[in-house]
Amino acid sequence: MSLASTQKKSFGAVLWDYLTTVDHKKLGNMYIVAGAFFFILGGIEALVIRIQLMKPENDFISAGLYNEMITMHGTTMIFFAAMPILLGLMNAIMPLQIGARDVAFPFLNSLGFWLFLFGGIMLNLSWFLGGAPDAGWTAYTPLSTQSPGHGVDFYVMGLQLSGAGTLIGGINFLVTIVTMRGPGMTYMRMPLFTWTTFIASILILFAFPALTVGLFLLMFDRMFGSAFFDVALGGNSIIWQHLFWIFGHPEVYILILPAFGIFSEIFPVFSKKRLFGYSSMVFATFMIAFLGFMVWAHHMLTVGLGPVANSIFAVATMAIAVPTGIKIFNWLATMWGGSIRINSAMLWSLAFIPSFTIGGMTGVMLATATADYQYHDTYFVIGHFHYVIVGGTLFGILAGLHYWWPKLFGKVLHEGMGKIAFWIFFIGFHLTFFVQHFLGLMGMPRRYWVFLENQGLDTGNLVSTIGAFLMTIGTIIFIINIVYTSIKGEKASADPWGTGRTLEWAVSSPPPEYNFKKLPLVRGLDAYWIEKMDGNDKMTPAEPLVDIHMPNGSILPVTMTIGFFIASFGFIYQVDNKSWLALVFIGFAIALGSMLIRSLKDDHGYHIHKEDLEREAD
């Protein structure tokens, strides 16, 4: 670590540092912390839902509040918990894995983070400003265009802000991986997590514009009197469903592919074996991404698209099971005959395989167009997508957090607590969601506030609620583990697992701000492992020690975001009173002014001189 960062800094200085940072590792950590905050909010909402459904005809919360809870739970968990934590891991780890010193556009990286954060804050402020959105996380029209109050307006503007941030992040990762791979790092030597980051970023690039368009149409319908979705005036409400799912289906692959990448890193490290079928893994990831764009209408099989369209989308959907199956078998074959070490990261990964496979199986069931008329909008669907999102994405996030925690925060998480948290959460997860499949098959519809007694739904719902509490306990133990580790934990070495294979384990934990003192020479897949097998304890450098060029920090991303944030409030409230339009002008003045400063002011960054680098101990 450099001398400056070991000195004690005042709180104000630390805050300013985090507000202005463009360092990909700090931004990654900020993404993860902010995502964890929204994860807890979404978890509390889930708990409220489960308490309401604990017994028949419960009146724990009112029907309107229940609608707000389900909407906010879904929106928060997808857009503000799962996505940002994954983006945080990509941000922190991917540049290290390809041997780069930062992402391609550090300034944009910071802008993307702040847009996401303020989008999430805006969405959640709706709780205090007259009620949250209540049209479901899918905000189907005409329900969403006719929802009274400003709830759905907050949904539109909050998602628009954070969506722009995600798009910026995705483009940034793409450019980074295409242009900034280190010496010797060819495409087919990239670790799988980098590959999945790359492909998920392609999905972000192509999928998010559909959401942006849909949200703009909804915004104009709600705030400026247009009629894109108003059937009475010649509009068509089905357009929303198409636009939403053209975005929404690739979105679930944006969530699951990085998780696949995480598992593909963990299995080889803790099996002490190279990943089985590396090139077929890359191919399967591409296949999933490609097919993922041609299946969105399987969310709309009961809309009435006709038998031809339904069949095409049903078959395409089932085809995705093939590349996914390739991956599952590759992971199993990676472990086959390896010297397996089971710790928390590995437990989450092992638990993922059966859980996700169950979710995949119910997915193929749902894809069967005729049978879907029975399943559609029941708890069977709820059971299915929680099995893939919790059992896939969330398990992946937790596995990745345990695995990379030393690289992110410099300390190894406590193993005992990690295992206890895992078992309680894992059992709770299956208790909660397994029984929901059967509730759905017995006819319990989703999004209903209450159910009647003596219809065979009482026991199942009680079991489900008990499971939700176990998941809560598991999460609390994980949080205690984090607090305990940050106070008591010992400083981790560069390669705390001892069997690290990829480049991020070749630098100290946490890495210095410039990542690599000398860029490493990559000689093959699993670059660090190759050096270890040749008896080297360090990477072979590809360059002599030279001055390192670093970007300057900047407060402009924050001011830009605040500008758009203020303007969003102007858009929402100008419906009530035109004088609110003043906020639109003020907000855009701040945002465009910041952009102007950014454009006109030359910022060449600074250099870390090689004399200073030499003086630092390794």
Binding site: F206, I238, H242, A297
Partner: protein, 106 residues
């Protein structure tokens, strides 16, 4: 000068290559202007709509191709990722448009 022959060879290769490149740029530029004029002319000639609209669209597609491949250098080496991304985007846009024109009923 005798030991500079190699350099001279490389230079002359570079020069011919640049001349070729310039020729291509000029030809494409002239064709682009010609296509634009033709587009205006077919509209002015008041031919039937069923001919004019597809014809202008066809010209537009060719012009986009010229723009990408000659003016933006997509024909050169090192643009494989960029072209696969662009074609991926075109494919997704095409599927979307196909959907909106076929399976949405009005």
């Amino acid at each position: 000068m005798t030991d500079n022959t190699n350099i001279n060879k490389i230079n002359s290769y570079e020069n011919t290559r640049r001349k070729e490149e310039m020729k291509h740029q000029v030809i494409t530029f002239v064709l682009m202007i010609a296509f634009t004029l033709i587009a205006f002319l077919v509209v002015a000639a008041e031919l039937s709509r069923t001919f004019v609209i597809p014809f202008i669209l066809l010209l537009a597609v060719v012009q986009v191709g010229f723009q990408f491949y000659y003016f933006m250098h997509m024909k050169d080496k090192g643009h494989e990722i960029i072209s696969s991304l662009i074609f991926g985007g075109i494919w997704i846009a095409a599927v979307t448009v196909l959907t909106f024109t076929t399976i949405i009923w009005w």
